[in-house]
Structures are given as C-alpha cells and as structure tokens.
Symmetry: C2
C-alpha cells in the first residue's frame, strides 16, 4: 500500500518520475534498451531519432534514475536500471486493453472471444 498520507515533496517526486515516462520517444528508447542494452549510436539507428535528441532524452531518463550510463572508451553504454518500469508499463497496458475492449463492447455487445 502506498502511504495513506503523502506530502507535497513526495507527490512532486512522483510527478517528476511520471513525467520522465510521459513521452513517446523516451518510451521508445526504454523499449529499445529493454531488448538489448546498447550504445548511443545504436539507439539512434534502432529508434530513428536524431543523435542530439537521443542524448537529451537519455539525460532525462538518467536523471530520473531509470537508466544507467557507462563510458567505454569513446562510447557510452546505456542500461535500464529500474526493471520496475516494465511492471508499471504492463499494468498500464493491461488497463488500456481493458478500456479498448470495453469500448468495443459498446458497439458489439456480447461478442465473446477477443
């Protein structure tokens, strides 16, 4: 259970963490890193995002404590350091799927199966 009473500092920190997750490009980066931790240039290729943008978003993710960076010579290797983000995404994805299913039911009630 979340603490039953939260203070403003806690709510602010919570909001900042959600902000880090509230962008499609950053989610794409996390999703990509999940398949394989990799270097910045690889992230650019895999995601199709530009280098400056990838670096910027990685900075935000790192600042939120979601990814870790490790310099290897000329390269920087990024890893996800908070697997809980995938639990969280799973919970939200399930909710979204339920929502969509419910919306369909409004048009095609009683159809069973998917």
């Amino acid at each position: 259970m979340v603490k039953s009473l939260m203070n403003n500092t806690q709510l602010g920190a919570l909001a900042r963490t959600f902000s880090a997750l509230a962008d499609q490009s950053r989610l794409l980066i996390l999703h990509t890193l999940r398949q394989n931790p990799c270097y910045v240039n690889e992230l650019c290729e895999k995601t199709g995002l530009k280098q400056a943008n990838v670096s910027k978003q990685l900075g935000i993710l790192k600042n939120a404590g979601l990814v870790d960076a490790q310099r290897q010579g000329n390269l920087v290797h990024y890893t996800i350091c908070e697997p809980i983000i995938f639990e969280i995404c799973e919970l939200v994805c399930n909710k979204l799927e339920r929502d969509a299913r419910r919306r369909l039911e409004d048009f095609a009630p009683a159809k069973r199966g998917q």
Copy 2:
C-alpha cells in the same frame, strides 16, 4: 510481461496515460479521492486548488480513464475507477525511497537501520 514488441500507437497511448499522472495537482486530487470519493467543491476545499483548476484536472483524469464522474443533482461525485494507479504509485514510491536511501549511503555508509 509487457508485449516484447510494442508499436507506436501503443507507446503513444502509454505516454498519454503517464502524462495524466505527471502533474502534482492531479496526483493530489487522486490522493484525496483515494481517502474518500467526493464532490468537486469538497475537492477544492481539501486540496486548496481553485474550482476552475480542479474541474480542468478532473477532466484530464477522466479523459485518461482514471476517474469516474456521476452527477447527483447539482453536484458531481468523483471516484477513482482504476485502483491500479495505486499499485503503480507504490512501485514508484518504493523506487524513490530506494534511491534516497542509496544517496544517503554515499555520505553515511554502513549506518544500518534507516
């Protein structure tokens, strides 16, 4: 497990849900509603936010499918309709606490207990 491959539509929907959670005022409203579902005017009193603001944020939360509204005469009663948001907040809060603890350890290593 989250689907191992997500498409842009899914990532976008995910980002939009996190956006709804990425604001301190909205988290405060959710937190308040969690103690007791209530009417808009009560929310204004309990949170100290202005009426126009509360209505606006409630609209965003409702649009994200996080709260439900039920008109009762002149009043509108709001309820949280997605308890999973508390699981999510709990996961994030635990992470934040771990982060803070780790940060403390950098200054006061080996102190045990809290």
